[in-house]
């Protein structure tokens, strides 16, 4: 059936409507994009008057904050990187497809947990606990990876029937109770280990031997809490990167006699390397800008100290605390906006770089997949 044609007299009206609507959408779209751009313009504009001033105040004011930001981000990355990359390698290379389709949303959920909740748990539950059980915490941090290796050794000693019941492709799930048990064991044994130290108290020993002070809310706690927050974003991107590597590459390497370790180290990682690097950068960007966790778990003391047992004050936390009280247009106000500008430029650059790398890699593998 031929659709009834609109009367000719309506045609100019339709065309006019079309023109107007297109114009409106264009104007609106460009307007929105400009509004987003305005963030950068505003930050630069507000910090311009600082250019002519003496820079010593800026150095005094901002350098402890910059140090605190870097220290917090570094602590978080130290905790998050091994876990996130390990998890990504496992789920891209070993995990059964069914488990993978369940685990990925679960870790997406982990990313959605608000920073303020993580910060609350870190500041009011984890920090006091770690203060009372410092030795146990350190023992656990060392013991958990060892116990994972132990699980591997024990598994190889098992009879083949048992091994089939506990396949490696589901290990991500059935290792949970194992790790929980090992955690309990470590918590039970650690106080015994601590009594073997001279003085029988780790914190006293640290202070006497190394001169380390201990603050309740410190870099260790921030590292664990913020690490928890950035694990999912690194994991998701790195997992995608590894899954994008054509299977033919890995299989080819193994067919030529490489072990799985060699195939991963020499083939998959170099192939996915740039994308994994970009995942790490995006994680670092998140860690640098995260406000609530640092605010609640770091003690907010602007110190120059590399000790993992002392607090810090990050740029984002300083903005959240000081900016509402700073008088608009004043010197403090402008310096805090300068801190915001630094954060903005840093994360924006890092993300842009990461995104470009990701797109380039994706295009390369789409080409490679075709042949």
């Amino acid at each position: 059936m031929i659709p009834p044609r609109a009367p000719v007299s309506h045609q100019p009206l339709r065309q006019l409507k079309n023109r107007i609507a297109t114009g409106l959408i264009t104007a609106g779209g460009i307007g929105v994009l400009l509004a987003i751009l305005a963030i950068g313009v505003f930050l630069v504009w507000e910090t311009l008057p600082l250019l002519g001033l003496d820079q010593t105040f800026a150095l005094v004011k901002l350098s402890p904050l910059a140090w605190g930001t870097l220290k917090a981000a570094l602590a978080a990355m130290l905790f998050a990187l091994p876990i996130a990359l390990g998890a990504a390698m496992y789920s891209a290379l070993f995990m059964s497809a069914r488990l993978r389709s369940r685990i990925k949303p679960a870790l997406e959920m982990m990313e959605a947990i608000p920073g303020v909740v993580i910060g609350f748990i870190a500041g009011l539950v984890l920090a006091p606990w770690v203060e009372r059980h410092l030795a146990s915490t350190l023992v656990v941090l060392v013991w958990l990876p060892l116990s994972a290796g132990l699980a591997g050794v024990l598994w190889h000693l098992l009879s083949s029937r048992l091994r089939q019941g506990l396949p490696l492709s589901w290990a991500g799930l059935w290792l949970v109770p194992w790790l929980a048990g090992m955690l309990m064991l470590a918590l039970w044994l650690a106080p015994l280990l601590e009594t073997m130290l001279p003085g029988g108290d780790l914190r006293q020993w640290l202070e006497q031997r190394w001169g380390l002070d201990y603050a309740t809310r410190n870099a260790l706690v921030v590292g664990i809490a913020m690490g928890f927050a950035v694990i999912p974003s690194i994991y998701a991107l790195a997992e995608d990167a590894l899954a994008d590597v054509p299977h033919a590459l890995m299989e080819g390497a193994q067919a030529l006699g490489a072990s799985r370790w060699q195939a991963l180290w020499k083939v998959a990682l170099p192939a996915a390397g740039p994308s994994i690097f970009s995942a790490v950068m995006i994680g670092a960007g998140r860690a640098v800008g995260e406000t609530m966790i640092v605010l609640m778990a770091s003690g907010n003391t602007a110190l120059f100290s590399a000790s993992p047992f002392e607090g810090m004050r990050s740029m984002a936390a300083a903005i959240a605390i000081e900016l509402p009280e700073a008088s608009p247009g004043g010197l403090t106000y402008r310096y805090l906006i300068l801190a915001a500008l630094v954060l903005f430029i840093f994360t924006f650059l890092v993300n842009t770089l990461a995104e470009m790398v990701r797109l380039r890699m994706r295009r390369r593998y789409q080409k490679a997949g075709r042949y």
């Binding site: 779209g29 609350f120 748990i121 609640m296 608009p328 993300n351």
Partner: protein
């Protein structure tokens, strides 16, 4: 020799590294479950009517209260237990640490009652009798009279006075009007406790905070969060969709568009506090300050719009979530096959008609997903709100019966900030902890449900679309 060594260590690595990797997945899951179950147990457990204990000490002193937790003593052997004893007006403190070695006897007498009072916080002890409107009741009838009176609405309650006895025998006279709830948890059956639990959860969700945020509920914070999020999505949806349509359907696809697209995508990774700074500088001080000097100059120097408020908070969060909506909508638009568009244009449709009748209806699920993700992100964001208008205790709700009903300039309460403030700036953090847990649980639940909805929607529509094509 060396070669053998590397070969064997390689074999070991080859065996072990999958296990290390698997353990990192397991560890992430373990941490996630630990966090969620901690919130669940502590958040929901607080509402369960706890057993009240009567503890006799070695010195002969008798203490009543609820056992909270135990810790080992710092320097010596042994442990101590923390009790919530209430009765701040009599003993001067709500809390008491008792060394386990000092405790001779622990009993749970059924006669112990717990009363929530407005001036002094909880009372824990015994109900001796009631003087109500000439009547003198004692024992069980007095308790029945009290529960019947409390079941009435506050305005219809009879006036009267309770005679209460603390554990060490002091007699207290308390006006009936100051009591809000009364329970005798030791005498309750399991079923009664469950219904009391349900009631208290409901009170938590529906009442305002009392006693400097240490008791009562979080209704104003829930309301503030919802209102702010709704306003935000009203602002962000049209603008985000507009920008996405422009980028994907109208703009020429060249290098510049690609760069803009990358830029927009990356704004999602800019820290939220930076948006807060922008909101404070531009919306609050810039636009708000100008509005004040034009329209509200009679109330200056006290600012109307020139300070943080609901409108500025919603605008800031709208800007923050704009990239999320744009990216999600664009993904949806890009997935629509070009054949659909070409078909529509070939049949004589103008671009507007093609967009409105063919393209947009097909992209609705993607837009919906984008908006839900934006809402989920906004509901959990606290840092920018601290700069642009959240309040620890808002005296007035942003919606009321007074013209113009919706007060965009007012400050509002937010679940996340309420959590931060009660946990870190409260007077009695120990007493507020259970409520903080409950608030955190509520916030996590809201955000997780929103995210799950988005994930589910995306999968559902993707499958449906798969069948169509």
């Amino acid at each position: 020799m060396r070669r053998q060594f590397t070969a064997s260590s390689l074999r070991l690595l080859d065996r072990l590294w999958p296990w290390l990797c698997a353990a990192s997945v397991a560890l992430s899951l373990l941490m996630l479950t630990a966090l969620l179950s901690l919130l669940l147990v502590r958040g929901l457990g607080h509402f369960w009517p706890a057993t009240l204990e009567e503890v006799t000490l070695r010195s002969g002193e008798v203490v009543t209260g609820e056992a909270i937790r135990e810790t080992s003593l710092p320097q010596e052997a042994g442990a101590e237990r923390l009790y919530f004893t209430g009765n701040r007006d009599v003993s001067g403190a709500n809390w008491r640490w008792l060394a386990l070695d000092d405790i001779v006897q622990r009993t749970t007498p059924e006669a112990l009652v717990r009363l929530e009072r407005t001036p002094w916080g909880d009372f824990i002890g015994r109900l001796v009798g009631i003087d109500a409107e000439g009547e003198q009741l004692e024992g069980q009838p007095a308790w029945e009279y009290l529960t019947a009176a409390l079941a009435l609405p506050a305005s219809q309650r009879p006036s009267g006075e309770l005679v209460l006895a603390t554990a060490d025998g002091q007699i207290l006279r308390q006006p009936l009007a100051s009591i809000s709830h009364a329970t005798a948890p030791n005498a309750m059956t399991w079923w009664q406790k469950t219904s009391a639990w349900g009631q208290r959860v409901w009170q938590f969700l529906s009442e305002g905070p009392r006693a400097a945020n240490t008791s009562g509920g979080v209704w104003p914070a829930i309301f503030g969060t919802l209102l702010m999020v709704i306003l935000m999505s009203v602002i962000v949806t049209p603008f985000g969709v507009l920008a996405a349509i422009y980028l994907n359907e109208i703009a020429h696809q060249n290098r510049l568009t690609r760069l803009v697209r990358i830029g927009v995508r990356n704004l999602a990774g800019v820290p939220s506090i930076v948006y807060g700074v922008f909101g404070l500088g531009v919306f609050v001080y810039g636009i708000g300050g100008s509005l004040d000097s034009w329209f509200f100059s009679n109330t200056l120097p006290s600012p109307t719009f020139g300070t943080g408020g609901l409108l500025w908070a919603s605008l800031t969060l709208a800007l923050l979530t704009l990239p999320v909506v744009i990216v999600a909508t664009e993904e949806g638009l890009a997935r629509i096959p070009d054949a659909q568009r070409e078909g529509a244009v070939a049949l004589g449709a103008t671009r507007l008609e093609m967009l409105m009748r063919i393209v947009l209806p097909m992209a609705v699920p993607a837009m919906l997903t984008g908006v839900i993700l934006a809402v989920a992100r906004a509901a959990g964001e606290v840092a920018p709100l601290m700069l642009v208008g959240v309040a620890k205790l808002a005296p007035q709700m942003p919606v009321d019966g007074e013209f113009p009903y919706l007060h965009l300039e007012r400050k509002f309460m937010h679940l996340g900030y309420h959590l931060f403030d009660t946990a870190f700036h409260g007077e009695d953090v120990q007493a507020a902890m259970p409520l903080v847990y409950a608030t955190a649980l509520l916030l996590v639940l809201i955000v997780l449900v929103l995210n799950l909805t988005a994930i589910f929607l995306r999968h559902y529509f993707r499958r449906q679309r798969g069948n169509e094509c």
